[in-house]
């Protein structure tokens, strides 16, 4: 293992991570809801039949998603560049999207719900989920980058 010092950005990672944690905390404080993005998106397209407050619940979800979409655009006003360099193309991209959506729905959460929120609540279920997806993601990147798969 070698550390990639050129791309290592501990300070911005910590600051950005802190903002993500603060957002999760604020949503729990204001709405009493877990900031799990896959859960929010899944509830928008496939509402929970048993939700007692179904009439209210999608409005806050839509407002949150709109904010998350528009937020990064404001960084442009401060001339802060956001690097976006894709790693997948062709048929791999839609396949990856399908796996991310399907897996997050089946596993009841993703990097935000299990990662930022579940770990902060010390949930054993979320810890297992995070360790599982970290493991398969590391194996996948190894196979693609170092074993010539795909």
């Amino acid at each position: 293992m070698t550390i990639d010092m050129v791309n290592f950005t501990p300070l911005s990672a910590l600051v950005g991570g802190g903002m993500i944690g603060l957002a999760a905390l604020a949503l729990m404080a204001v709405k009493g809801r877990v900031m799990g993005i896959s859960g929010i998106l899944a509830s928008l397209i496939r509402p929970d039949a048993d939700a007692p407050d179904a009439h209210d619940s999608n409005s806050w979800r839509l407002a949150f998603v709109a904010g998350a979409m528009l937020g990064p655009l404001t960084l442009g006003l401060f001339h802060i560049d956001i690097d976006i360099i894709p790693v997948a193309s062709g048929w791999v991209l839609p396949l990856a999207g399908l796996l991310v959506g399907f897996g997050a729905a089946l596993g009841s959460g993703c990097t935000s719900g299990h990662g930022i929120c579940g770990l902060a609540r010390l949930s054993p279920r979320s810890l297992v989920a995070v360790m599982t997806f970290m493991l398969t993601a590391v194996i996948t990147v190894y196979l693609v980058r170092h074993a010539g798969v795909m």
């Binding site: 293992m1 070698t2 791309n7 990672a13 910590l14 991570g17 802190g18 903002m19 993500i20 603060l22 999760a24 905390l25 604020a26 404080a29 204001v30 709405k31 998106l41 397209i45 496939r46 806050w60 407002a63 949150f64 998603v65 904010g67 998350a68 979409m69 528009l70 937020g71 990064p72 655009l73 404001t74 802060i80 690097d83 790693v87 997948a88 396949l95 990856a96 999207g97 796996l99 991310v100 959506g101 399907f102 897996g103 997050a104 729905a105 935000s112 990662g115 770990l119 902060a120 609540r121 054993p124 279920r125 297992v128 493991l135 398969t136 590391v138 996948t140 990147v141 190894y142 980058r145």
Partner: protein, 134 residues
Amino acid sequence: MPLLFSFLIGGLFGIGLAIAGMLNPSKIAGFLDIFGAWDPSLAFVMGGGVIVNLIGHHLLMKRATPLFGGTFRLPTVQDIDRQLLGGSALFGIGWGLGGLCPGPVISSLLLRPADVVIFAVMMMAGLWLGKAIR
């Protein structure tokens, strides 16, 4: 009023993702590539997010209700079952392949639509399917 807060909280989340480097699939892949040139940055994103939320959540739970009333809706399921394991395993494969997870997908959709729109559409289809069979 809480609706405006939800919008602003979403904005904070999106800006946090952008500053953290989470919108960049190459950076995600660099973190997951522990057998190559490893970029540990994402561990700091997770660490920063979890620590802030862990301390704050602990203090917040001293309250009986959220700030504007209602109830705290915390997950009650405790089971570590095949769906949790299988779903998380598939999620990780997709994350490794594309370098994108759901938050960064929505937060980069307007920045770089051409790079993420196909992923986003298939992700939504996957979410629908996964929830349908869960």
